[in-house]
């Protein structure tokens, strides 16, 4: 397993559906791949303190987040038989209904990439220092905490 360099994971603002589509299209030349598994995280308009979440403003401890993304990526490649993997997470304001996370895992066969994708998503939620300020449409806010 060759060492992989850290990649830039964090993007400013929501993740555009065109970007997701183009990412899928770019894999059409990689004909050793037999299965993709994709997870998209979307901002939900939860009810908080009698108000509705209009958007989440994401922030991160940048250096540590990039390190943790790199570690979980290495762990996934060690643990599963993967062809490639791409992870993107938004920083800044993402409105309800927009995409804030895109995990794209590819493998020869479906079982490995499905399990790897679940592994990566759970690792991100548990180990990457990203924080979500829920904007409630007026001047007030609450803070998202992963379940």
């Amino acid at each position: 397993m060759k060492e992989k360099k850290p990649k830039n994971v964090c993007l400013d603002g929501p993740i555009d559906s065109m970007f997701i589509g183009e990412s899928i299209a770019r894999h059409q030349t990689k004909t050793d791949i037999g299965a993709h598994h994709i997870f998209l995280g979307q901002v939900r308009s939860d009810e908080k303190e009698g108000k509705t979440v209009k958007a989440i403003e994401y922030s991160a401890y940048d250096e540590m987040a990039e390190t943790e993304f790199h570690k979980l990526r290495e762990a996934a490649f060690d643990r599963f038989d993967l062809s490639c993997m791409h992870i993107y997470h938004s920083l800044g304001v993402v409105k309800a209904g927009e995409i804030c996370m895109f995990v794209f895992v590819s493998s020869k066969h479906r079982d490995q990439c499905r399990e790897a994708c679940n592994f990566v998503v759970e690792q991100i939620k548990a180990n990457v220092p990203i924080f979500g300020k829920e904007l409630l449409g007026d001047e007030s806010h609450s803070w998202k905490v992963n379940q």
Binding site: G41, I130, F131, G132, W143, V145
Partner: protein, 77 residues
């Protein structure tokens, strides 16, 4: 000696700042005591401590130039 302290997420609501410098603090327990006195809102707050980007549950000695982050529960994804 000086260490740099970073606050994230809802901890910033209690500290009013995202970073500060603290002088002459020997370890993370002493730093925590110092911060809880300076920012009483932190007493009710859940947070983990990372020293130079490594999470630590135990008391860790600090040296000049260390970076300490107070991290509330994560919300990525």
């Amino acid at each position: 000696m000086t260490v740099k302290v970073f606050f994230f997420g809802y901890l910033v609501d209690h500290t009013g700042q995202t970073e500060m410098e603290v002088n002459n603090i020997s370890d993370t327990d002493a730093l925590k005591d110092h911060l809880l006195k300076e920012f009483p809102g932190l007493v009710q707050s859940r947070f983990a401590i990372a020293v130079n980007q490594e999470l630590t549950r135990e008391n860790v000695s600090l040296k000049n130039g260390d970076q300490v982050a107070l991290l509330p529960p994560y919300a990525g994804g």
